[in-house]
């Protein structure tokens, strides 16, 4: 039993039980690996391959095809701003630029403190609530920079609390 299997035994067992074929579990398991390591790391890939009875090449292939798996480490908060046409018509491009400027990061870059990665993404099915972004796969909608600054502050506090709490 590998590390992922030990740590996430129930979730993995439940996931595998959904499908007649283990291979179908590769996507849910990659999410688990990403959760564990913060990105889809080589050890994550190898363990998922073992659980799904696949060659590691095939798992890496899946991880590379889908944009929600990150094959590189990301910031604690992975901010993905939708700048697709419907959002862009409602000012998302500007919002995206302002956010990057505020956090002092380049497109796809991570803040120096490792807190935030900012990148743009394609339509997230929230076009009527633009500008919006997803942060670690949770949506934040109807944003402007004022709201954003509050959120960023809250996220920073959260991390600080966790750090303090664990002391």
């Amino acid at each position: 039993m590998n590390q992922l299997q030990q740590k996430y035994q129930d979730r993995i067992t439940h996931t595998l039980s959904k499908y007649p074929d283990k291979r179908s579990a590769v996507m849910p398991l990659l999410y688990i690996a990403q959760e564990e390591y913060g990105w889809v790391s080589p050890e994550g890939i190898d363990q998922v391959a073992e659980i799904c009875d696949m060659d590691a090449t095939q798992v890496k292939s899946i991880a590379g095809f889908y944009t929600m798996y990150s094959e590189k480490p990301k910031g604690k908060y992975w901010l993905q701003v939708c700048t697709d046409l419907p959002c862009a018509l409602r000012g998302a491009d500007q919002f995206h630029e302002d956010l990057k400027a505020y956090l002092e990061v380049e497109e796809g870059g991570t803040t120096a403190d490792g807190m935030f990665t900012v990148e743009h993404v394609m339509c997230l099915a929230a076009c009527d609530k633009a500008p919006m972004l997803q942060c670690n796969f949770h949506f934040a909608e109807n944003l402007d920079m004022d709201k954003m600054k509050v959120l960023i502050e809250q996220w920073r506090n959260e991390v600080n609390q966790q750090v303090n709490g664990s002391r």
Binding site: Y69, L89, D93, C127, K129, E141, N142
Partner: protein, 453 residues
């Protein structure tokens, strides 16, 4: 108007199982279980319901393709909802989830499927958790699982999350993705309904969320009640997702056959700042753009009428572009989308989307030659009709239709007489201020959730 899908307008908290059940919830399923599978299929056929995922294929007919003698069959619910400008399935699942589950189960019963997989785009992460809870509740109440409502019929319902790939909305790519393979489309035939073509090679019905959410109503109220809405060829209501430059963007469930004008002005509040409309994308990025002429504005939104004005109803994701919008810029946005989403499996789409984006970028940064416009038009035409799946056609549309209807918007960038200086296009500033009126009660996400939750 009474809503078929967005019943939260009439019934508060319809998302909760007991509220749903108290308001005729799962009555359609109960009724279906008392009928033969064929009778269920015929009822759906009689309603004239057409697929809401884009192609508008008659739903009952699709179900009837499933071979009876195969022991294992599946239903895959297409909740990938990734077309730019589409956000309707999300609202249905957020506010009226049991109606989708019930519809999917009726479909499953009609084709005698063993299991239903709801394939959600990966970004519907939180939604999937909620749906899982609903499924659990429904199971406990006997609406799914073993011996549904005391009948001999059993069926499981599962959710499955994608991970960020528009192409997985294409049905055969969706099936590949569910099987843990690359989300690339398959060669057809065999079609999903045929042995060898569906999930795990078994005959499978793939239906959109909105399509299936209509089904409980059809069963419970009867096909005629459904046909009371819409037109002869396009019966029922449709959720119109209105986005872009309108005062009240949002989802509007309305009978098929209302006009663009009614939709945009009567329902979506018109255009901010009293501006005019330049163009309308009736079906997200993938359907051809139409200029906002009076003829277009007065065209009824039906499958048949959209055909007449050279576009498609598709998933009815109406993106409105006001008269300040640079069409070449909009085309470039769409080109970038398709380039990003091309799965890469077939040559014309993989290479075509790449080159269109590249050359279009050159055009809108002022470096293009007049021949560049012909070049992208020609590349787009060369992609049409020859790709493995419809994404290639979708990707060609924004180029072909924008150049056809708005040639001057491209000419400005490349005609030496017209282009004064290199100027990068400015993206629109915020349109009409912060979140405007809500049409549905789409729950707004605040983003106040801790990381890794």
């Amino acid at each position: 108007m009474k809503h078929i899908l967005f019943r939260e307008h009439e019934v508060e908290n319809i998302r909760e199982l007991d509220v749903y059940v108290n308001n005729a919830g799962y009555a359609g399923l109960k009724k279906a279980l008392g009928m033969t599978p064929d009778e269920v299929i015929n009822t759906v056929k009689a309603s004239g319901l057409r697929g809401r995922g884009g192609a508008g294929f008659p739903t009952g007919v699709k179900w009837s393709f499933i071979p009876k003698n195969e022991p294992v069959k599946y239903v895959a619910v297409n909740a990938d909802e990734s077309e730019p400008g589409t956000f309707k399935d999300r609202q249905i699942m957020e506010n009226n989830p049991h109606q989708l589950i019930e519809g999917a189960l009726i479909c499953a019963y009609a084709i005698q499927a063993k299991a239903v997989y709801i394939y959600l785009r990966g970004e519907f992460w939180d939604l999937a958790t909620q749906l899982d809870q609903c499924i659990e509740e429904a199971r406990k109440a006997g609406y799914l699982g073993q011996n549904i409502l005391g009948s001999t019929y059993s069926c499981e319902v599962y959710t499955h999350l994608g991970a960020g790939a528009y192409i997985c909305g294409e049905e055969s790519a969706l099936l590949n993705s569910l099987e843990g393979k690359l989300g690339q489309p398959r060669v057809r035939p065999p079609f999903p309904a045929q042995k060898g073509g569906g999930l795990y090679g078994e005959p499978t019905v793939v239906n959109n969320v909105e399509t299936l959410a209509n089904v409980p109503f059809i069963l419970y109220e009867g096909p005629e009640a459904f046909r009371a809405f819409g037109t002869e060829k396009s019966p029922g209501t449709k959720v119109f997702c209105v986005s872009g430059n309108v005062v009240k963007p949002g989802n509007y469930e309305l009978p098929l056959g209302i006009t663009f004008r009614e939709l945009i002005y009567d329902h979506a509040g018109g255009i901010p700042d009293g501006r005019g409309i330049k163009g309308i994308l009736p079906s997200g990025a993938s359907g051809p753009i139409v200029p906002a002429t009076d003829e277009v504005l007065d065209t009824p939104l039906t499958y048949e009428d959209m055909d007449k004005i050279g576009t498609v109803l598709g998933s009815a994701s109406v993106i409105v572009l006001d008269d300040s919008i640079d069409i070449a810029w909009a085309a470039s946005k769409m080109a970038k989308f398709f380039k990003h989403e091309s799965c890469g499996k077939c040559t014309p789409c993989r290479e075509g989307t790449y080159w269109i984006d590249k050359v279009l970028d050159r055009i809108i940064t002022g470096d293009g030659a007049p021949s560049d416009v012909d070049l992208i038009l020609n590349v787009a035409k060369n992609m049409q009709g020859v790709t493995l799946c419809a994404l290639g056609d979708f990707a060609a549309n924004p180029i072909i239709a924008t150049i056809k209807h708005f040639p001057d918007e491209f000419k400005r960038y490349v005609d030496p007489a017209l282009k004064q200086e290199k100027k990068a296009v400015a993206a629109p500033k915020r349109a009409g201020g912060a979140a405007q009126g809500r049409a549905g009660r789409g729950t707004e996400k605040t983003g106040l959730v801790p990381a890794g939750d």
